[in-house]
Symmetry: C2
Subunit: 191 residues, 2 copies
């Protein structure tokens, strides 16, 4: 099947508690741009991120609020700022490194929650039935073109609210020259 | 067959004329570390590189001297400093972007020569005969592990002076988590 690619640049998801600290009590994030997944948006708000070696300016917040704050960086970013590169599915913060976040009102030393996100596809329930894909399946995605790549271990996540979309990060995009919204072939990997 | 990976970080090859300008007349590059390919070395010398958006400090020179100056960057670097991402085989400078180089003695505005290097393997004549590989063959390379990737369009370059080695850049390494000197499977891609 063909699925559109969404390339994730570095970003931060914030908990209510951390928004209060960084932006002020009861501060409400504002929508810069809606994302493809229902209810998800790039916020106007940005934070500064400080690692042991250096920092990253103007890292965008993605809304809405989450239960736990999560920072998603590329491996390139992690190496640059001096933290370990730890690959995790979204929400899995076991043994993940930390950074400091600085907002306009306050700052936080996180306790973990900085991940390089595992590649994954969001699949609508409708598409999952049509294509015979189950939640948790591991698939392959082929990027054709001058820098051809087949990505393995693409986790399928099925939900009735999901819009079909393959999420890759900037390292994966730069290694394969895939573009945002490009349609790519996703299929069961051959043994 | 299994081939060792060499990960290329950003670097610059300099012509004699450009060494004269950047480091002074008849300046000789000095060896910081020998590379796997015969006669190739990382030099102690570094330059600053200036793009339209920003610069990159301390970009290492690789020796020995070449006929034409060539700058090899990752796509991530190109986007950061604000130049087009142009994929080329080493030595092919047709329609490639330019940067300014600053050395301790002088500076140069290049006229092209900044490339993102096409992935390729160096193959010894001995290995090429044993494995039935011809100069110019396009192969696949599989990186196993938690961020599994199959790289397509890996150009085989055969020469009697070559040591078997798969060259990838930092974007490709960060997208696949392959490590320097890791042995990976290289084979004819299936249709």
């Amino acid at each position: 099947m063909l699925i559109e690619v969404g390339i994730s640049a570095r970003h931060v998801h914030l908990s209510r508690k951390d928004i209060d600290i960084l932006f002020g009590p009861n501060y409400q994030l504002s929508v810069f741009k809606d994302l493809k997944q229902l209810g998800q948006y790039a916020a106007n708000e940005k934070v500064e991120l400080i690692g042991p070696k250096c920092g990253l300016n103007s890292v965008r917040i993605l809304g809405p609020e989450r239960k736990k704050t999560q920072v998603e960086l590329s491996a390139t970013d992690c190496i640059k700022i001096g933290i370990p590169v730890v690959l995790r599915d979204s929400g899995d913060h076991k043994d993940t490194p930390s950074v400091k976040l600085i907002g306009p009102v306050g700052s936080i030393e996180l306790e973990g929650g900085v991940i390089v996100a595992s590649r994954h596809i969001h699949v609508s329930t409708e598409t999952s039935i049509k294509e015979g894909i189950n939640n948790g399946d591991m698939l392959c995605a082929k990027i054709t073109g001058e820098r051809e790549v087949i990505f393995g271990k693409v986790l399928a996540r099925v939900d009735e609210t999901f819009v079909d979309e393959l999420h890759l990060d900037t390292d994966e995009a730069n290694a394969s020259f895939v573009k945002n919204n490009q349609k790519v072939e996703v299929y069961r990997c051959q043994k």
